[in-house]
């Protein structure tokens, strides 16, 4: 296989690891599964268009023209918030480049000292003190960084996200530091829109039934039935969600922390990020600064890295050993490895003999010892392997 120089300009989003899809030349960033997001769009647009088609003409004439105008403004706000939540970078932390990852590995080695043979090394945790509270920073084996406080790794998008809240399939993206306020405003405005449409549907049906009778009304405006049904089911879920997130914001907690019970109060553990004042917490989350994206999606890749990628490709296919046992270049984060080889790069020695015997033939001799510090994997860590045993 000959190395072909790519002469067109490659933007950085094309080489980003993780399972995101990008559109509009890197301006739009979403998760891979977008089906539920299309459903959300369809439900909102469908219900609103039925409302504008059936109810609004009658209400504008018989009640006030302000009703459809306000509905249009609310609808536009909902769509703007939805698109902003779905298309923006939630606060993805870029993976460590090889030198940084090696530096961290060396620091960990120095801190652990000599581990006797046969014993698992201690778990990779850093303790920091925030507002008189000890917070543990965990090491991310995929991104090769110690996660900042409140960051978490999303397994669906395969990225570490800062102030990770949750991955929302309805918006087709993670909700994190950068788009949490848009997500909250989306749920809030959608609740208002749902209540608005539901209320005016009832008003419209009542007003028309007084003139023409209930059954005739339903015959004239069949869309009403559909709208009422959608709004009824949406109300319970979205209004509940808005209430839940209002509660979280007032305590300055994320959904992730709430689910894990990080600050539930046992062992006198308290939320170190809360200002202990509801107004201050709300202001920080909703009116805080607009954080910039640290993923440079639209920047151009430097020339030498694109040539390094093309010259690397032939050497990987010429090695007779399967990719699962390759340990010579373990820390390159931005190579698009196939999905089945990606987890094996981190835990080659342990996994190949047991789990992946079906694809490559099991090798007789061990692969050559790596010259970089031995790669850690969750299996070699004491704490994570104990927690994994508990899961099974």
């Amino acid at each position: 296989m000959s190395a072909v120089m790519i002469t067109r300009k490659v933007r950085k989003w094309e080489r980003l690891p993780g399972k995101n899809t990008f559109c509009c030349d890197g301006r739009v960033m979403m998760a891979r599964q977008k089906g539920v997001f299309y459903l959300t769009m369809f439900l909102i647009m469908g219900t609103c268009s039925l409302f504008f088609a059936f109810e609004c003409p009658y209400l504008a004439v018989h009640l006030s023209p302000a009703i459809p105008v306000f509905a249009v403004l609310l609808f536009l706000f909902v769509m703007a918030m939805l698109l902003r939540t779905s298309f923006s970078d939630p606060g993805v932390l870029p993976r460590a480049l090889p030198e940084e990852a090696a530096f961290i590995e060396m620091e960990i080695e120095a801190a652990n000292g000599n581990v006797p043979a046969g014993q698992r090394p201690p778990p990779r945790i850093r303790n920091v003190q925030i507002n008189n509270q000890i917070v543990k920073l965990k090491y991310c084996y995929t991104c090769k960084i110690f996660r900042p406080p409140r960051a978490s790794h999303c397994s669906i998008c395969d990225n570490c996200v800062d102030r990770f809240d949750h991955h929302c399939p309805w918006v087709g993206n993670c909700v994190g530091k950068r788009n949490y306020r848009y997500f909250y405003l989306f749920t809030l405005s959608l609740s208002l829109l749902t209540i608005y449409i539901f209320a005016f549907d009832i008003v419209h049906v009542v007003m028309r039934s007084v003139d023409k009778g209930f059954l005739n009304t339903l015959q004239e405006t069949p869309g009403t039935v559909l709208e009422v049904l959608v709004c009824f089911f949406t109300l319970w879920s979205v209004v509940g969600l808005t209430g839940f997130h209002t509660y979280l914001i007032s305590l300055n907690q994320t959904t992730n922390e709430d689910i894990k019970g990080s600050w539930s109060g046992k062992n006198r553990v308290q939320n170190p990020y809360s200002h202990k004042n509801i107004i201050k917490n709300c202001c920080e989350v909703l009116c805080g600064p607009a954080y910039p994206s640290v993923l440079d999606r639209r920047g151009l890749m430097p020339e030498d890295s694109s040539s390094a990628l093309t010259s690397f490709a032939p050497s990987s296919t010429s090695i007779p050993a399967p990719q699962t046992t390759k340990t010579t270049a373990p820390l390159i984060p931005n190579e698009h490895t196939p999905d089945d080889a990606k987890p094996n790069i981190a835990a080659s020695a342990e996994k190949t003999s047991s789990h992946k015997a079906k694809s490559p033939p099991p090798k007789e001799e061990q692969p050559p010892l790596p010259t970089v510090p031995p790669l850690a994997s969750p299996e070699t860590d004491a704490e994570t392997s104990i927690s994994k045993d508990k899961m099974y």
Binding site: E100, N131, L137, P148
Partner: protein, 158 residues
């Protein structure tokens, strides 16, 4: 050993990268962006402690200014919300303005202080605001590999 570099271009042309030091984030005051001011041992022979600490402290003040929650950030937030955040298509956020100031400051520091000492600071935004990367260069003419390995072994002995 004194390695003299007169400007940034000369550094990039005639020097080879020996080592990199990463200044980590300081989370003791919360999740706001702040870097540790602890002076790394690898730079002891290269630059004065006070100069380096001044650079990091100035960067910390810049980031604190960008992330300050006060009257101006509320105004910006409310105005943006009222326009459904469309105003950000034409206006730059306060954070972005401060980031530009930071980039200019780092460029200036590199030209005046760090390049003459064979060092280079990378803007933290290029590393996900996780670390300040300080690259240590050696003159290609001198024994680059031996000094490179000695600085690497020096950090593991820490």
């Amino acid at each position: 050993m004194a390695t003299e570099f007169h400007n940034l271009q000369e550094l990039r042309r005639s020097a080879s990268l020996a080592n990199k030091v990463f200044i980590q984030r300081d989370y003791s005051e919360g999740t706001a962006c702040r870097f540790q001011t602890k002076f790394p041992s690898e730079l002891e022979s290269r630059i004065e402690r006070t100069l380096f600490e001044d650079t990091v402290k100035t960067l910390n003040t810049f980031y604190a200014e960008a992330e300050k929650i006060g009257g101006q950030s509320y105004l910006e937030g409310c105005l943006a919300c009222a326009t459904a955040y469309l105003i950000f298509l034409c206006m730059e956020t306060r954070y972005e303005k401060v980031l530009k100031k930071i980039a200019k400051y780092i460029q200036e520091q590199n030209e005046k202080i760090y390049a003459p000492r064979g060092l280079l600071i990378t803007d933290p935004i290029e590393r996900g605001m996780r670390v300040i990367e300080v690259s240590i260069y050696e003159d290609r003419g001198s024994s680059g590999s031996s000094s490179g390995s000695s600085s690497v072994s020096g950090s593991t002995a820490r």
